[in-house]
Amino acid sequence: MLKIDNLNVFYGPIHALKGISLEVNEGEIVTLIGSNGAGKSTTLSAITGLVKASSGTITFNGKNITNLPPYKIVKMGISLSPEGREVFPALTVEENLTLGAYTRNNHNDIREIFERVYNLFPRLRERIKQAAGTLSGGEQQMLAIGRALMSKPKLLLLDEPSMGLAPNLVLLIFDLIESISKQGTTILLIEQNANMALSIADRAYVLETGRIAFSGDAASLADDPRIRKAYLGG
């Protein structure tokens, strides 16, 4: 479904991605783990067109989407719940979700997605008219994921959805990610919480300072002593 081939990204002189290649197949949960500054978020920014690739290609369902503007990429069926949530603070929960469906025009369709998102996140339904900036961290995270689902993406990109959440909320968010996946959305998940990510993922890539250091199916990576030592706390 998604194929990244030898991707290089620079921020001025900083070489953030040094020729990474990875693949996500339809129906999978793939996780991209790695320490702070490894280039995980940059990978998602390049996929969504927020940063330019200096070389390499990104293809989605056979189409070359490298360096297309973000709005075209959303239209093709890729959607990102960004690191740090980035909700629109002064807009209501409902307006935030409406914006998530910006690329959709069919009203019945939009109403149906609203229902689906409210069923996944009943908390959001209770706060429809509340300004997003006044939600708790966990609620904002739900809003960010819900908003990303509103465009009915074929591929959902999640950047550290568990960041800053209490342990019980982390469990809830991971449960929800699994249900979204079961409902038929392909997922590329970035996590600091590598244990949790590997437990729900089919396959995984480990990123170290802009390069893919390891890759393979999630269960065997979770057993790999090198990875246990570096990322899973021993």
């Binding site: 969504t48 927020l50 973000p70 709005y71 603070p89 002064a90 807009l91 307006e95 914006l99």
Partner: protein, 295 residues
């Protein structure tokens, strides 16, 4: 007493037209955190286009329509040609600012071109289309009424557009977080162009209204009024539409009162006196919120 009421009516009519210019500053500021110093020149351009098309015997209303369209397109082009490339290069905000100042002089100069316009003042068709009428012992010019009603309707339409339509929601989203707006599938460059178009179009309408009221235009007519309207936008809290309306009214009424009771040479400084007083009392303007920075 009726002198006071007459002055108030005059101030309110003028203030609504100021508000129409002020919202242009406010909308562009909201999206780009940029003060568009070419906006006053756009107002003059709008008035000159009406004058030009009227001189071609097109009739006042068609001339105004064409002027609105051309001014909107000019504003959009200014952004595309001069400002968007600067944003792409992530240049410092001050570079964009001085570019808009430069643009304002280029437009002003165009309006004083020999053989077409010249730098002389010109007569402008009167907006006093239905004469004047008297209520009690207060006389109201129909030009005042037209200015008030047209500005009111336009401001209401703008408010509805921003608050109730899909493109308005996209404008508000872009205002708050450009990156997230991109991720929603919003074509942010289109939203910015659209905002500039609206700014140019409303400036042209204000240009037609105020010129029709005073019945005179000159190439530099936009500079003082532009600064007054900018003050009005800041007084109300820049970036907030209804703030611009209140700011416009405050400035319009204050300067008419000042001219009536303190002498006509006190009229023009009033906008700035109010600006200074309001900003000392409330640095974000009357309705402004904290946390809006950048240039």
């Amino acid at each position: 007493m009726h002198a006071l009421i007459g002055t108030l009516i005059n101030g309110i009519a003028l203030g609504m037209a100021y508000a129409l210019i002020a919202v242009g500053y406010s909308m562009v500021f909201g999206i780009l955190r940029l003060i568009n110093f070419a906006h006053g020149a756009m107002y003059a351009f709008g008035a000159y286009m009406v004058y030009f098309f009227v001189s071609l015997k097109l009739g006042l209303l068609p001339a105004i329509m064409l002027s609105i369209l051309m001014s909107g397109i000019l504003a959009l082009l200014i952004d595309k040609v001069a400002l968007e490339p600067l944003r792409k290069k992530k240049s410092i905000p001050i570079a964009t600012l001085i570019t808009t100042v430069g643009m304002s002089f280029i437009i002003q100069n165009f309006l004083s071109i020999e053989y077409i316009f010249t730098s002389e003042k010109k007569g402008f068709p009167s907006l006093n289309l239905f004469g004047s009428f008297t209520v009690g012992n207060v006389t109201i010019q129909s030009s005042q009424l037209i200015m008030f009603v047209v500005a009111l309707i336009l401001l209401a339409i703008l408010t509805l557009l921003v608050n109730k339509t899909k493109i308005g929601l996209a404008m508000r989203a872009t205002e708050q977080n450009v990156k997230a707006a991109n991720l929603m599938g919003i074509n942010v460059n289109f939203i910015i162009s659209f905002t500039f178009f609206l700014g140019g179009a409303t400036a042209a309408i204000a240009g037609a209204l105020i010129s029709g009221y005073y019945q005179v235009i000159s190439p530099t007519m936009g500079s003082l009024i532009g600064l007054k309207a900018f003050s009005a936008a800041v007084v109300g809290g820049i970036g907030i539409l209804y703030g611009s309306v209140v700011g416009g009214l405050v400035v319009g009424v204050a300067e008419c009162l000042a001219a009536q009771y303190l002498g006509s040479n006190v009229r023009d400084p009033m906008a700035f006196v109010i600006l200074i007083i309001i900003l000392i009392i409330k640095p974000t303007g009357l309705f402004g919120k904290k946390g809006i920075s950048k240039v």
